[in-house]
Each structure stands twice: as structure tokens, then as C-alpha cells.
């Protein structure tokens, strides 16, 4: 018994030594890189006469910024966070990737986040997310930050599917058992489906624009509930809020198919093929023009009150709107029109009481 203890202590000791050996090597690097940046910035920003916007510069704010929501918006927010910190923000910015719906729940019901990320607009009307927000005294403010072309993907090993129609897509994600049920020339192999969870904006968007039109109710109108039931009743269906789980799954088999934000396709473009929908491939042009049938807006939400109480939140949103277009293509999404970004900026000025 005693010897066991000694042996395990010894193992722990070795582990601790190995860890501490790594420590000192890692720490000095950020210090070295940060210092020159800070001094340069100070020279530039201190020269002009008092600028009212100075209080919203990244290096002049600190404290907590808590954000949560869409896994589609997540990589974009993550990149903006990185830039924001490079520019001198020293506070703590958290981004939880939990799906648009859950993001609104935390923003509107729990009220513990400052910003909600969403890949669909907030729902309005009675008992909706907006109403719940208002019930806890939050009036949601919408900022459009970019466009996504929802990517329908198959593995690189899939040699047969390159282009599908929207109706075929609805069939693939509902009643079709095998690929040959969709097109006779496709292989008679079971379809494996990998889709975002039911609380994600991506799921809602797909149901609204693909499943609902294919599942009409008695009045002949597209029906969200029927569409949702159709996709969830499909066989071989795997759902996850973690888009990387879906990527792994689709890569895993030539007979797998899935959909998620374009950024996750771009990141794995070497292993995935993206399908054209109605012969239109998702690109910057087709997304911006709205030609691509599955193009959609990406949002962040906050409120005027939060932005006034927490200047760091206002500073982050301002920084986001001013710089998002430098980064968005690299992250894998497409820039929103200047008019839409300007509308967001105007809303920002109004909320903070600043002059443009």
C-alpha cells in the first residue's frame, strides 16, 4: 500500500517537473511581442486633442464581455476577439458556441450575456425571444455583421453528387433511404446525415428554406413544423451543436452528407466537396447578390443599456463593425453591404449618444 503511494507520488513528481519545464519557455513570448505594439499605439493616440471616441478604444476599456450563441458566428467573433486583444484590450472576453436559440435564451431569459451571436434574426411576436427580452427589461439591438452561404457538403470520396436541386435536398434529408432513391444513377447505399442540433440557427434556417417548402400543409403553404418533423424523422441522422463533429462525420464516409456555415467548409476544403444548389455554387458573388438559395445574414445582438453600462461592450461592437470586413473573407464568410454595416453603426451611435 505504502509502496503504491510512493510510486504514484513519483509519477506525479515527474509529471510536475515536465510541466514546469514547459512553463518558462512559453511565458516570455507574449510579453516580448506586446511591448513594442503598446508603445507605438500610445504615441499615435496621444498626439491628437481629446477625442470623445477615445473612451471606446480597445486599450482604454477593460472588464468582462460575455457573449454566447451561434456556432456559425463563433469563428468570426473569435477572430474579432483576437484582433480586439491585439489592439490592446486587456479585459476578459468569452464566446460560448451553443447555438443561436440557446444564445437568445441566455441573453433574454437568464440575462447573463452582453452579446448574443445569431445566424438568424431574433424571433418577434407574442411569447417570442424579443418578448422574453423585453420582459427582463432588455430591448434587443440588432447588428448585421456579415453573410453566410450555408454549405451543403459531402466527402471528397463522394464522386457522384456535385449539384442538387432544393427539392432533392429536401428528399435527401427526409424520406430517402438510399442515394439511389434520390437519383436512380446514384449508388444504392444508405444516406448518412449529419446536421446541426435543433436549437441552432443553421437548423432553423435549413428547415425554413429547404424542408418547409417541400412539406406543405393542408392549405398548400410551406409548413415549418411539418418540415421539422420530416427532417427529424429521417434515419441515420446525427445532430450536434459542434460543427467539427459534423465535419468529422461527413469526412468519414462517401455516403455521408451534412450542412453547416461556409467557414467550416472552407477550413476543411481539402477533405470536403461543397454542392451547388440549383446549379449555383456558393461564392462571395452569389451570396451577396442573394442568388445562392441558402445565403443568410449573420448577426450580433446587444442592448443600448448594456452598451452604456459597460463601455467595453460598446467598444467591442464598434470595433466589430469597423473591422469585420477586413477579416470576414479570411474566416470563411462574405461581407455584408456597406449600407447594412452603416445602419449598424448608426444604431451604435444612437445607443451610446456619440456623434458620428
Amino acid at each position: 500500500m505504502c509502496k503504491n503511494l510512493i510510486v504514484s507520488l513519483f509519477v506525479l513528481l515527474i509529471a510536475a517537473m515536465a510541466l514546469s519545464a514547459c512553463g518558462p519557455q512559453a511565458t516570455p513570448t507574449p510579453v516580448a511581442t506586446q511591448k513594442p505594439v503598446e508603445t507605438e499605439e500610445l504615441v499615435v493616440t496621444e498626439e491628437p486633442v481629446v477625442d470623445p471616441m477615445a473612451m471606446y478604444l480597445p486599450e482604454n476599456v477593460t472588464g468582462e464581455i460575455i457573449t454566447a450563441g451561434s456556432s456559425t458566428v463563433f469563428p468570426l467573433s473569435e477572430r474579432m476577439k483576437q484582433r480586439f486583444e491585439e489592439e490592446g484590450f486587456t479585459g476578459n472576453l468569452t464566446i460560448d458556441s451553443i447555438g443561436s436559440g440557446a444564445g437568445f435564451t441566455r441573453f433574454c431569459v437568464d440575462g447573463d450575456t452582453d452579446i448574443a451571436n445569431a445566424s438568424r434574426p431574433i424571433k418577434t411576436g407574442e411569447g417570442s425571444e424579443t418578448a422574453k427580452c423585453q420582459a427582463i427589461g432588455r430591448e434587443p439591438l440588432e447588428f448585421l455583421v456579415g453573410l453566410d452561404a450555408l454549405a451543403v457538403v459531402v466527402s471528397k470520396d463522394n464522386t457522384f453528387a456535385t449539384d442538387v436541386t432544393k427539392d432533392e435536398l429536401a428528399l435527401i434529408f427526409s424520406t430517402a433511404e438510399k442515394w439511389s432513391d434520390v437519383r436512380p444513377e446514384w449508388p444504392a447505399e444508405p444516406i448518412q446525415r449529419f446536421i446541426p442540433g435543433t436549437d441552432s440557427g443553421t437548423f432553423d434556417f435549413f428547415v425554413e428554406f429547404v424542408m418547409a417548402p417541400a412539406n406543405k400543409n393542408a392549405d398548400g403553404k410551406a409548413d415549418m413544423d411539418l418540415g421539422e418533423a420530416a427532417i427529424l424523422a429521417a434515419n441515420n441522422l446525427q445532430l450536434s451543436e459542434d460543427d467539427n463533429v459534423l465535419v468529422q462525420g461527413v469526412i468519414g464516409s462517401p455516403y455521408a452528407i451534412g450542412f453547416f456555415g461556409y467557414a467550416y467548409y472552407q477550413e476543411n476544403a481539402g477533405k470536403l466537396n461543397v454542392l451547388s444548389i440549383d446549379s449555383i455554387a456558393p461564392t462571395a458573388e452569389t451570396a451577396e447578390s442573394g442568388e445562392y438559395p441558402l445565403a443568410r445574414p449573420l448577426f450580433i445582438y446587444s442592448t443600448a443599456q448594456i452598451m452604456q453600462e459597460k463601455p467595453q461592450v460598446a467598444a467591442f461592437i464598434y470595433f466589430y463593425l469597423m473591422n469585420v470586413n477586413d477579416e470576414i473573407l479570411d474566416v470563411g464568410y462574405f461581407p455584408a453591404s456597406q449600407a447594412a454595416l452603416d445602419a449598424g453603426l448608426n444604431a451604435w451611435y444612437e445607443a451610446t449618444g456619440m456623434q458620428p
Binding site: 447555438g99 435543433t198 418533423a229 450536434s240 451543436e241
Partner: protein
């Protein structure tokens, strides 16, 4: 410094109060006694709290007009979002992963236990056992990625990519078996060790070989302890979460094929509660019903194991 000198004063003063010594001693005793009582009470209270909370939320679920208990226990489709409440696909996946895990953990665990208690020299045993116990100390999330990125590709290269899906219950089960192996080995070994030497010596005296002694005398004598170890291993397998959440798949599917992806009860709870939940929705309440079912399964297994230990226990001396 000031504190220290105060302490010194007390220490110096202490032995002089000979009369108060007895009383003070008693006070300390009762403090310790009540602390210990509180510790025991606290763990029982926590269990009661968990049962209450699970029961309350599960009641909210079963009270819903769309749900009935019979359909819950016998339905073969689980998709609460569209009012499909058959828990069998989840239970089935749990049983498949558990069966695969136990098919690894029981034979290997027993073999290791027999080797350690009957064959290994003390020196070997004292080195091997702690190493084996390190296996049990590896975080299960690490095991999960080990299953997904190491075991699954091996399975796929053996049986073919078209047979083995990327997420499958077999690889999760195999790795879970490795996780549970030390648990079974360790408890079984304790049970084997508790068998008195006289039994072994009597068998040797009758001309039995070492293998015969181990398999025909020692193992049967320690059977109750081994059975308890196996049942504890099974409850561990049923409750195991991270490995199946990472490697077994993320969609409920009613299949007995271990090479296909399927979601276990614990895996489903993790996925639904890991962000994908709105309070007071059916999905949210349903995970408490699953939790309650899990609780009953492991509770009854533990009760069975206690019964077995009591009934088949060989009492020596």
C-alpha cells in the same frame, strides 16, 4: 508573530489546567463526532436532493399530455422535438456499448487479477498494480478522443470503411473496456487475495497444479467479490459519459450493429444539455426522465451486487 505568541501562551497554559483537561477533551471529541456525522449526513442529503430534483423534473415530463409511460418504455423512436418519446434506442445503445466494454473488461480484468494474486511475485505486483491504476486515472475525455482518432481508424481498416461508420458504438465500447479493466482487476484481486492460504495449500497437497488451484479453488471461493466487481464495472459502463459522447455518435438510432453510430442515454443528456436546450421545453424535461431511468438502472445493479455479496459470501474462520 503575534498569533504565534498567543498560541504559545495557550500551549504553555494548557497542561497547568489539569482539571479542565477532561472536559476539553470531551468537547473536541463531540466536535469531531458531529463533523463526521455531518459528513455522512451531507452525502446522504446530496443523494436525496438529486433524487428529489430528478423526480420533480421527470414528473413535469411524464405529466405532459403527449407523453405516456408505456410509450416511453417501449417506443423505438426518440426525437422529443417532434413528440417521439421511445427511450429504447438510447437504452439499446447504452446496452451495446456496455456489452462491448464488458467483453473486454471481464476476461482481461479477471486474467490480470488472477495473474497478480496467484502468479506474480511481490515485486512485480507492486510495480504492475500502480501502473494499472494509472489507466483508471486518465481523464475520460482523453479516452474519448483515443477511441475516435485511434481505435475507430483501426476498426475501419480491419472491417472496411463501408462497414464501420466514423462514429460507432464498438470503438467507444472497446475503449470503455480499457477504462473499466483496472476497476474489475483491482476489486477482483482484493477478493482473490482474501482467500485464505490454507485452501490453496490443501489443494496443492492433493496434487493440483497451479492453474487448477487458481481456476478451480481460488476463483470459486472469491466468486462473490468477483461478481460484485463485475456489476460495479457494469454500472460504471452504463454511467460512462464522455467516451460515448465523443465517439459513439450523436443521433438516437435503434440498432444492434456495434459498427453503426448510436447515441447512449448519457451521450444524449450531454448533447442536449451542452447548449442545445431551452428551459421548459420538452427536450429539457426529457433529459431528466432519462436521468431518472439511468439512476434506477445503476441503483438496482448496486442493490443486486450487494445481495450477491451477502448471499454467496464464503466466510472463513
Amino acid at each position: 508573530m503575534a498569533d504565534q505568541s498567543n498560541g504559545m501562551d495557550k500551549l504553555v497554559g494548557y497542561p497547568t489546567k489539569t482539571l479542565g483537561l477532561k472536559k476539553r477533551h470531551r468537547l473536541g471529541e463531540s466536535v469531531i463526532q458531529s463533523l463526521l456525522f455531518f459528513a455522512g449526513f451531507f452525502s446522504i442529503f446530496t443523494t436525496l436532493g438529486i433524487i428529489y430534483e430528478l423526480g420533480k423534473e421527470a414528473w413535469l415530463f411524464f405529466r405532459l399530455p403527449e407523453v405516456n409511460l408505456w410509450q416511453f418504455l417501449t417506443g423505438t423512436k426518440w426525437q422529443p422535438h417532434i413528440n417521439e418519446f421511445g427511450v429504447l434506442p438510447l437504452v439499446n445503445a447504452t446496452l451495446v456499448t456496455t456489452a462491448v466494454a464488458m467483453s473486454i473488461a471481464i476476461p482481461l480484468g479477471l486474467a490480470v487479477a488472477i495473474y497478480l494474486s496467484e502468479y506474480a511475485t511481490i515485486k512485480v505486483r507492486n510495480t504492475l498494480k500502480p501502473i494499472l491504476e494509472i489507466l483508471a486515472g486518465i481523464p475520460t475525455i482523453v479516452y474519448g478522443y483515443f477511441a475516435l482518432t485511434f481505435v475507430t481508424p483501426i476498426l475501419r481498416s480491419i472491417f472496411g470503411r463501408d462497414v464501420v461508420e466514423i462514429y460507432n458504438t464498438a470503438s467507444a465500447g472497446l475503449v470503455m473496456g480499457i477504462l473499466i479493466l483496472p476497476l474489475i482487476a483491482s476489486i477482483s484481486e482484493d477478493a482473490l487475495n482474501a482467500v485464505p492460504r490454507s485452501l490453496r495449500e490443501a489443494a496443492y497437497g492433493l496434487g493440483a497444479t497451479k492453474l487448477e488451484v487458481a481456476v478451480k479453488v481460488v476463483v470459486p471461493s472469491a466468486l462473490s467479490g468477483i461478481a460484485a466487481a463485475i456489476i460495479l464495472g457494469i454500472s460504471r459502463a452504463i454511467g460512462e459519459t464522455m467516451i460515448v459522447a465523443v465517439a459513439a455518435g450523436a443521433g438516437p438510432k435503434f440498432t444492434f450493429n456495434p459498427f453503426q453510430g448510436a447515441e447512449t442515454m448519457t451521450g444524449h443528456i450531454v448533447r442536449i444539455s451542452g447548449g442545445d436546450l431551452s428551459y421548459d421545453s420538452i427536450d429539457y424535461n426529457s433529459i431528466f426522465a432519462i436521468g431518472l431511468l439511468l439512476f434506477f438502472i445503476t441503483l438496482s445493479l448496486n442493490i443486486i451486487s450487494q445481495r450477491i455479496v451477502r448471499r454467496f459470501r464464503e466466510v472463513y474462520e
